[in-house]
């Protein structure tokens, strides 16, 4: 609503007052939402950082063991081995609500970590290095799933945070100043009209008296 569309009347003034009140309330609420989101966001970012380091370290370790094991067993043999492994545990996705942001949560249906007898390769024919690799990758996968969960949460909360911030700023720096300005303009116009009326009355009185 721009100034041109508003007539400087008492009715418009009252309407505008209500609008300003509403906008202020909305602004207050959005600000609270933004602050809560920021707090959540910082927690998530810290958590993510820990998990990232864990995954990076785990990955490096896993790669090293893998190369060592490949040297012992042979690359081709290794690939053949991996073909016979039964599929790993699947997971379910649930959702969770952080300040109106719907984020995923992963729930493992079984266990990624398996006992030595259920890993799908022969313990007799393979080296213990292979066991080591499997151990490390199992741990890695678990960490990666946690990381995936937290990173997605960070991403979604960041998006929401951005749009909330934009809304808060739009209200604070664009809409509210404009409404205030319009309000003052109407007030001034009304006062001006009152003075005009008053002057007109005085003038009429004088004119009548002078006759």
């Amino acid at each position: 609503m721009s100034i041109e569309q508003i007539k400087p009347t008492r009715m418009a003034l009252l309407q505008l007052k209500r609008r300003i009140q509403l906008a202020k309330k909305g602004h207050e609420l959005l600000k609270k939402k933004r602050d809560a989101l920021v707090m959540q966001f910082f927690n998530l970012v810290a958590e993510r950082k820990n998990l990232r380091t864990k995954v990076h370290e785990g990955l490096e370790e896993a790669y090293t063991s893998l190369i060592e094991a490949q040297m012992q067993v042979g690359k081709k043999e290794f690939e053949n081995l991996s073909l016979a492994i039964p599929p790993t545990a699947e997971f379910d996705v649930r959702t969770y609500n952080i300040m109106g942001v719907v984020v995923p949560i992963f729930n493992l249906r079984g266990k990624i970590k398996r006992p030595y007898t259920k890993r799908g390769y022969s313990l007799i024919n393979t080296s213990s290095k292979v066991d080591e690799v499997v151990n490390k990758f199992q741990k890695l996968l678990r960490d990666m799933m946690d990381l995936a969960e937290v990173e997605e949460q960070v991403r979604l909360v960041a998006e929401e945070l951005e749009s909330t911030k934009r809304r808060v700023n739009a209200l604070e720096y664009v809409l509210l100043p404009k409404l205030d300005k319009t309000y003052r303009w109407i007030e001034l116009s009304l006062e001006e009209r009152e003075r005009e009326d008053f002057f007109r009355l005085k003038r009429m009185k004088n004119v009548l008296k002078g006759e």
């Binding site: 920021v38 966001f41 910082f42 970012v45 993510r48 990232r52 995954v55 990076h56 990955l59 896993a62 790669y63 893998l66 190369i67 490949q70 290794f78 690939e79 081995l81 991996s82 073909l83 492994i85 039964p86 599929p87 790993t88 699947e90 997971f91 379910d92 996705v93 959702t95 719907v102 984020v103 995923p104 992963f106 990624i112 398996r114 890993r119 799908g120 390769y121 292979v130 690799v133 499997v134 990758f137 199992q138 890695l140 996968l141 990666m144 799933m145 990381l147 995936a148 969960e149 990173e151 997605e152 960070v154 991403r155 979604l156 909360v157 960041a158 998006e159 945070l161 951005e162």
Partner: protein, 103 residues
């Protein structure tokens, strides 16, 4: 839901050894990675995509497009390549944009 892995032959071997079946071994060629990625996001039972950083760089546009959709899954996790010591953080920019400062 299952985990899918897109990466080089080594990481693939490691993950198939623990029973991850949806693995895609690709060289660093854009169309190959793109094909693998498309196949993965088509499969609605895949919830997490693990992808090597260097391969993710090749299909950055596709990843961005996927993140723009409001769907929660699949979630993409970028991991460092084998032997790369370069520290990278795919979230740095995002965090900077969201809070205005680098933390």
């Amino acid at each position: 839901m299952r985990v899918a892995v897109i990466g080089d032959a080594d990481i693939i071997t490691g993950f198939s050894l623990i029973g991850v079946k949806d693995v895609f071994a690709t060289d660093a060629k854009q169309d190959e990675v793109q094909d693998a990625f498309k196949a993965v996001i088509k499969d609605s039972s895949i919830g997490i995509i693990v992808i090597s950083h260097s391969l993710a760089e090749l299909i950055r546009e596709d990843i961005k497009r996927l993140n723009l959709t409001k769907k929660i899954i699949p979630v993409i996790v970028e991991v460092p390549d084998k032997g790369s010591t370069e520290v990278f953080d795919p979230f740095e920019e995002l965090i900077k944009k969201a809070v205005g400062v680098n933390i």
